[in-house]
Symmetry: D2
């Protein structure tokens, strides 16, 4: 069974492909993902742009929520806050994301982003859980 | 005088180019920027990924802080929070960013992101102001 | 008609009384409120505790949302982020709060907190809009 | 040696006393604290005001940072974000706070707030570390 046939899988993520991130594993509200530093991830001062780390975390939070949804539900990001703690200049960034609370219409999640065994960023976000609209894929 | 020769200009932004954003104008703690929706900005549910809007805002906040810095200072993002209010599926996203407070070692900024005359996201962030390291470009 | 008989007014706020805050005016998604610095607002380093400013802002955001609700709706704080920009040591803190977006089940708001004509804090928060439970006052 | 004689202890916290919170233990960047629900903690819909939980967390983050500071340093809250996950209506709220990263001039912390074995709120905050001003107690 492919991703496309599982009714409650998240569909393909064009922006995730653009930045080169991969979801490694998602189950029961937890998601593991990663990306490898590329030169086009850099910001003007020569370190990974915060937007890359945010995007990795945001995509992973969405995947973690999806793992708890039924086939007729979708989720969207309400808001997210991220703290950047150390610069990333090379290597693999791993992201571990957990649902802290799934309510009926919202979920709260955290991500820890690690590079070279050091915590490089931490994020806390809120997602809305909605009925899947009829036209959704 | 080009950007490259002004000693306190932000250098080139590889990730900004990857997502196709443009800084239109930056002066005295205010930055105007934009990007045009592309298919590779989309997330799995067919709307612009939050990471694109975050990246536009984060880059713009950095540019707004730079406009207040001396030639021997740089800034980095400490943290940022963004609320997503309406989905973006097409057209131009404009971002208006202002420094709310510049202290000696930190700055606080907000961004409003607008598409089709509607507020689509709002962000509030904190930047650290640091002496430029000797090896910086 | 008193506050208590208007079916969609927020009921009395015990914690707001404890910290001495006042709602001055609330209409159409905007709330003006204030409090006067007291010694029991201070934190260990002799300035107003961030929790006082947070509480003023949170209560005001709730009041601003209430002004847009029907008689059968209530709201609760989902999350809030606040940046502290200048210390408050005396005088009146005024809080101006606006709903940036009211959706069907959530609202996004910002507060600006001012003391002595200076911006001392800014907050960005998310509220959930819910049907009033049968047992609510 | 009492708290008052240790040169780098946080001094007395008037607002913490107002809300009835207690620091139980602080060491090496971790703080345990609590408060017991009181009627004057309630917000208009009859649950603990978010400002009480914020204040407990903010005070605890400050104490956790202090445990890592030298005698000539102080800290102040730059910003904090808190998510409220379940209403608190009675009993003891316990708060476990950890420094995730102590840099030279900033620290990043998280708090988990628990009541009746359930996570009721989570917070993520940033503190500035500053030299103690000459006039500080």
């Amino acid at each position: 069974m492919t991703d496309e046939t599982r009714s409650h899988s998240p569909p393909r993520n064009a922006f995730g492909r653009l930045i080169g991130m991969r979801i490694d594993d998602t189950a029961e509200g937890v998601c593991h993902s990663h990306l490898d530093t590329r030169e086009d991830h850099f910001n003007p001062i020569g370190v990974m742009h915060g937007g890359v780390l945010f995007s990795l975390s945001d995509t992973s939070m969405g995947a973690a929520v999806y793992s708890l949804l039924g086939p007729d539900e979708i989720c969207t990001t309400v808001e997210m806050k991220i703290n950047f703690m150390r610069p990333v200049t090379k290597g693999r960034v791993e992201c571990v994301t957990s649902v802290l609370r799934r309510g009926r219409t919202t979920a709260v999640l955290e991500s820890k982003l690690i590079c070279g065994e050091q915590l490089v960023a931490v994020a806390l976000g809120t997602y809305a859980i909605l009925p899947k609209p009829p036209e959704a894929p």
